[in-house]
């Protein structure tokens, strides 16, 4: 994973295409496609029903437009909703049986999967287009009762857990893209940490889009039972193509009493070229529910890719004394657009939330923070602190801050603050006159700007996140 992010080439290093024979469903979506996806994954009936209900509702909806982003209408009938390497059709029993070409792809992405090279401290589920290629370290985890597998596998092996939790945080009718995902979701990861277990290693999913004209609709569900804890990391890349590809995922997190879930994302989907051609539309619904008392959900995201990012990892603070956190660095360059932030919904008593958002906009990009802090009438003693800072690099970009505070309880203490700054020539010159080269100077300034977020990432990721930002900024500054 380290190398995957520590990429100093000016070009997007992950822009290559893996040459494998791919099976794709015909373009377009209808009930038959939904049924075919479910059948291909050998899902239990209730899942098919779940998908069909979502699909029927979705058909009646129109796409939302409220985000501060611009893009031509998406033709939802011009997308392949399922694509998988043919070699995965016979469901390899272990990673040893997986097509070496696929394994080589993940090697190249810096996520080696085979036993002798794989990362020791992280269990990885590798998702390639619509299927999971394999999951490492499953044996060690199983000993502790931790379930970590692809969503498809979970649907077959643990249908009762899926049935119990799926769609309970993000209902299929939550919004247009949630409904679409609920109808056609392909693969993703399922994590279950039983009562009292502290997951000993980080769990990670690596998402790779490879096939052209294909949407990726992954689904991730993480459940931490009473007193359990887990740290989960996701990473993502895609080839460079002139077309825009849709990635519409759902992530649901559920934390019971005293449980804690830390979810970190390093998102580096292809963001399009300097003229805004190509790149991924990253329209994702991520939401966690602090179901239990004293539970905690923490989102950290480093958003450095995608032509358009439109997502708000959120926390519903239902349990008394529960804690929600959102730490974000969003960098946009070229013509990228991001409208991202969070929602903190305070319902239980004595709940608290923290929002730290750092937006960096460069070139001709547009970077917006949008966030909601809502305190419901019964949420006594709610606390929120939000800080949303923007940095502008270059004079053609935009940095916007759209916070919403809706406070319906007198005992709440809610504070929001935001600032806008830039890397000025004067600052660079000052640092350079003290012996730093321009790259080091920028790194220092950006690091300083983002340090409150980086320090919440698992150590190896924070190092890589810094490098990733430096690389992206290098073209934009000076």
């Amino acid at each position: 994973m380290n190398d995957a992010l520590a990429n100093r080439d000016k070009e997007y290093k992950y822009g290559f295409v893996t040459d494998v024979e791919t099976e794709k469903f015909p373009k377009g979506v209808n009930e038959d496609v939904v049924r075919a996806i479910s059948k291909r994954k050998e899902e239990p009936d209730f899942l098919l029903e779940f998908r069909l209900k979502a699909f029927r509702w979705w058909q009646e909806q129109t796409p939302p437009h409220w985000a501060h982003v611009e893009f031509p209408p998406i033709d939802f009938q011009d997308i392949h909703y399922y694509a998988a390497p043919k070699s995965m059709a016979d469901a390899p029993q272990s990673l040893d049986d997986v097509d070496p070409e696929l394994l080589r792809t993940f090697d190249r992405l810096g996520v080696p999967l085979h036993e002798r090279e794989r990362l020791a401290g992280v269990a990885v589920d590798a998702v390639f287009d619509s299927v999971s290629v394999g999951t490492t370290h499953q044996d060690i985890l199983a000993e502790m009762g931790v379930i970590f597998c692809s969503f498809s596998e979970a649907a077959r092996k643990h249908p009762e857990l899926i049935k119990r939790y799926l769609g309970t945080v993000v209902p299929p009718r939550d919004n247009f893209y949630a409904a679409l995902n609920s109808a056609v979701f392909s693969d993703g990861s399922f994590v279950f940490i039983p009562k009292g277990v502290h997951c000993p290693i980080d769990l990670s999913t690596y998402f790779r889009i490879n096939a052209s004209n294909t949407g990726q609709f992954e689904r991730t569900l993480i459940v931490a039972e009473e007193g359990a804890s887990v740290s989960y990391v996701e990473g993502c890349t895609a080839p460079m193509r002139d077309e825009n590809q849709l990635h519409a995922a759902i992530v649901e997190l559920i934390a019971l009493d005293d449980a804690s879930i830390k979810y970190s994302t390093v998102q580096n989907w292809y963001g399009g070229d300097e003229n805004g051609r190509g790149g991924i539309y990253n329209f994702v619904v991520k939401r966690g529910r602090c179901e239990g008392a004293r539970s905690k959900i923490s989102w950290t995201q480093v958003e450095a890719g995608s032509a358009i990012t439109w997502k708000y990892p959120s926390v519903i603070l239902k349990g008394d004394d529960s804690v929600g956190e959102f730490y974000s660095v969003a960098l946009t360059n070229n013509k990228m657009q991001a409208d991202t932030g969070t929602k903190m919904v305070h319902i239980g008593k004595n709940t608290s939330s923290t929002i730290i958002s750092k937006g960096i906009s460069c070139d001709g990009s547009r970077n917006s923070y949008r966030g909601l802090v809502k305190v419901t009438p019964g949420a006594d003693n709610a606390r929120n602190y939000s800080q949303c800072d923007s940095m502008l690099v270059g004079s053609d970009c935009e940095a916007n801050t759209f916070p919403y505070l809706e406070i319906n309880n007198q005992s709440a203490v809610i504070e929001h603050e935001a600032t806008t700054s830039r890397i000025s020539d004067d600052q660079l010159f000052y640092l350079q006159s003290r012996g730093l080269d321009s790259e080091e100077a920028i790194s220092l300034l950006v690091n300083g700007f983002c340090k409150d977020v980086f320090k919440t990432l698992p150590l190896e990721f924070s190092v890589e996140a810094v490098k990733l930002l430096e690389m992206k900024l290098e073209d934009s500054v000076g």
Binding site: W66, V375, P377, S390, L392, V393, G394, S395, D396, C397, E398, A399, N400, T401, F402, P403, Y404, L405, E406, I407, N408, N409, Q410, S411, A412, V413, I414, E415, H416, E417, A418, T419, T420, S421, R422, S424
Partner: protein
């Protein structure tokens, strides 16, 4: 089914237009009458916005689509009544409107005053309205206004007296509707202190839909006090649009304590280099009152500065919304913008919404904003208690202090005292209801 974004207004609005066109035919040009019709068509086309429209997210005005209003007729107004109205001072240059109609007999225009007052009907071509998105009520005002005035100060003048424009809205058994329209133009390097006050007579409902357009020519300075103290049954929708040219300066006090529903949209365009605007706002709501303070500052040219401090005090089941947008255009280098909204909740049933927004398209700027919602500080309450002040008195003192922080910024001590008096009455009224 999703709720619609707008509702078609009731037919009585069209009746009112017919009546206005008929009444105005003798005194207005064909062009002016056509402009009214065009504005009305825009209003009907847009309809009354529902809360699905972002600008109306926190304020529900849909009942205005259905409720039937009678056009306001000016009730007989005496000089005695006027002198007793809030912010009235005999030495001021006073312009009185009764239910939207100018009352020269009650106004005071001192001999030799530099202020020019032009009735709007006699203007060959009223200043073209700045198009306002998401606000069909401006179009409604431009279609249905009965009377209005342009106040103009010639270049480099400073009136000897303060100017006070008093809008008195008489209420009657049938809810009345008025559309006050006022234009103010400060010439180059002119300086003025102007207070705009909206007040009701009687305790029945009225709906006033006011527009105010202000232009500050280069180097002009305006000290503006906008006060809304309608009775608790009424609705006030005010749309104020201010355009500032080079090096002009504005200080505005935006004070709202009345109305069942009040929304004041205050837009400032810093259209010339080096212009600066400073907005202070205070809203106080109780019972089931709702207030919406809507500000928009457009930094269009380099080296402009803006500062906003809006504070709100909410009691009982009242609701309030602050929406403030600071927009920095691509060419506006050297912009310095600060915005702060603070809300104090005195009751567990009050609801405060705050939406401070920054849209920045230039990297050479210094912009900050902040928002807070909370109750009185425990430590401050203890500090006062430790000096012998009982909890009720301490709460009262701290709430007033919270408001005073805004009022302190009024340089005119008499105006400060005026607003302070309204503030005191509001708090006293509140004490009556709680004891």
């Amino acid at each position: 089914m999703k709720r619609p974004r707008a509702i078609t207004p009731d037919a009585h609005y069209a009746d009112q237009l017919s009546a206005v066109l008929e009444a105005m035919a003798p005194c207005e040009s064909a062009g002016q009458l056509a402009a009214r019709q065009a504005a009305f068509d825009r209003f009907m086309e847009q309809g009354i916005p529902t809360r699905r429209v972002e600008a109306w997210k926190y304020t529900d005005v849909t009942r205005l689509a259905e409720e039937v209003f009678a056009p306001a007729a000016p009730a007989p107004l005496t000089a005695e009544t006027v002198t007793g109205l809030p912010l009235y001072h005999p030495e001021d240059e006073t312009v009185v409107f009764a239910s939207g109609i100018l009352q020269p007999g009650l106004s005071r225009h001192p001999e030799g005053s530099v202020l020019e007052l032009h009735p709007l009907h006699t203007m060959p071509d009223p200043t073209a309205p700045v198009p306002i998105h998401d606000n069909p009520f401006v179009d409604l005002n431009h279609a249905l206004w009965r009377d209005g005035a342009l106040l103009r100060l010639p270049p480099s003048t400073t009136p000897a007296q303060r100017i006070h424009v008093l809008f008195v809205h008489a209420t009657a058994a049938t809810p009345t509707l008025s559309h006050p329209r006022l234009l103010i133009d400060l010439g180059e390097h002119a300086t003025a202190e102007i207070a705009i006050t909206h007040v009701t007579l009687g305790d029945k409902a009225c709906f006033n839909n006011a527009t105010l357009d202000i232009t500050l020519q280069p180097g002009a300075h305006l000290e503006l006090v906008y006060t809304q103290v309608l009775n608790q049954a009424s609705t006030h929708l005010g749309t104020t649009t201010i355009t500032q040219q080079r090096d002009s300066t504005l200080h505005a006090m935006d004070f709202s304590a009345g109305s069942a529903l009040a929304r004041h949209s205050l837009s400032v365009a810093l259209a010339g280099e080096g212009a600066s605007a400073s907005l202070d706002g205070l809203y106080i709501v109780q019972g089931r009152q709702h207030v919406d303070a809507h500000t928009c500052i457009q930094h269009q040219q380099p080296n402009g500065s803006s500062r906003q401090l809006y504070k709100g005090i909410l009691d009982d089941r009242a609701t309030a919304a602050f929406s403030g947008l600071v927009r920095v255009h691509p060419g506006a280098t050297g912009t310095d913008a600060q915005q702060m909204n603070r809300n104090l909740l005195l009751s567990n049933d009050a609801l405060a919404n705050s939406k401070p927004q920054l849209e920045i398209s230039n990297d050479d700027v210094r912009c900050t904003h902040g928002a807070t919602v909370g109750r009185l500080d425990d430590l401050e309450l203890f500090y006062l208690a430790s000096r012998g002040i009982d909890p009720t008195a301490a709460r009262d003192m701290l709430s007033r202090g919270f408001a005073e922080e805004v009022l302190y910024r009024l340089p005119d001590t008499q105006r400060h005292a005026d607003l302070h008096a309204i503030l005191n009455r509001t708090f006293e009224k509140n004490d009556d209801t709680t004891t």
